[in-house]
Amino acid sequence: KKTFEGDQVLRITAKNEAQIFLLKELSEQEHLGLDFWREPVHESLPVDVYVPFHSLQAVRVFLRYNQIQYNVMIMDVQDLLDDEEREMVKYRT
């Protein structure tokens, strides 16, 4: 079963079309293993991106270097999944 320890979901707020363009470029970097839960489309819409632990540093550096604002929406994906699993087991029991 795939696990997600240390993986995060970032909420990114682009402030202009140029930053949206940069985020689209980022989304094409297949080796990072990113999963855009909300895609970069327009600066009026937030962008949510799932980032595997091994790519976190690279993504953060990219965002900071390009002065793109972000905050951590989910600190550790596996923590949430563990909570979810516990809830399901509780009801099954």
């Binding site: 079963k1 795939k2 997600f4 979901v9 909420r11 297949e30 999963d35 855009f36 839960w37 909300r38 895609e39 489309v41 819409l45 937030p46 949510d48 799932y50 929406m73 989910i74 994906v77 949430l80 999944l81 909570d83 979810e84 809830e87 399901m88 509780k90 009801y91």
Partner: protein, 309 residues
Amino acid sequence: IPRSTDDFVYTAYHDLNSIYSFMDMLVAENSNLVSKIVIGQSYENRPLNVLKFSTGANRPGIWFDTGIHSREWVTQASGIWFAKKIVTDYGRDPVLTDILNNYDIFLEIVTNPDGFAYTHSRDRMWRKTRKPNSGSSCVGVDPNRNWDAGFGGGGSSSNPCTETYRGPSAHSEPEVKAIVDFVKSHGKLKAFVSIHSYSQMLLYPYGYTSTPAKDKAELHELAKKAIASLQSLYNTRYTYGSIITTIYQASGGTIDWTYNQGIKYSYTFELRDTGRYGFLLPADQIIPTAEETWLALMAIMEHTRNNPY
């Protein structure tokens, strides 16, 4: 194991077997109102079950589906709640009763069962179907890019390793083809609502083209009314509009196809949540989500009943 749908825990997420058992229980308890039809089989040979709520023969129909993207668990959970709500309210809520006295309601709770089973067993974040792609090690197709509506255009991918892979051809996925065949053979569906999560939107066609739908004005007004109704419960903020103007270009989408088939009231929902949990919405938010969504679905159904075409 719950013995009846009254014992079923609506505040928890359930696996595929539990959901299919729930459907069977609901049918057994309400055989005068509910039946189960199997519209096809998934790639991995799971039945594609649809609940049919009907009080008479040869009625026009209203379609709801949840869970076409398997990881969007709040949608399947909401679908379960809708099913129970329909049987509970029939005969009590005069509006729903009148709708059901004139229309059949079809509800496909797990539209992508292979993907859903996979989210429970292997990868909680799986979105697509589970059919292998020849010539690629990547599995699955985005079933919301696989419809014959601008298929292959912008806002879908030809790369099997992406989340928006459109598939080799329109309706290549059995989960999609089954609905296509059902819609065509039924011939009298008047509303079609496909339910996703999580960016809190109610959207109408088109996604593949910026040409406005010919019924845009009416669809927009109805969306506004439905969202006002939804917001009246918990003040959840929703936006609404056409797919291409509200989020992005998306080709091969479900409701673009249904609209082009003549189903005027074609909508797609994006349920909660935004900004906190994404696809990992905690189970304690299932019922509030379903409750508020139901109000919008009622608005769409009521409008459909009041505006026959």
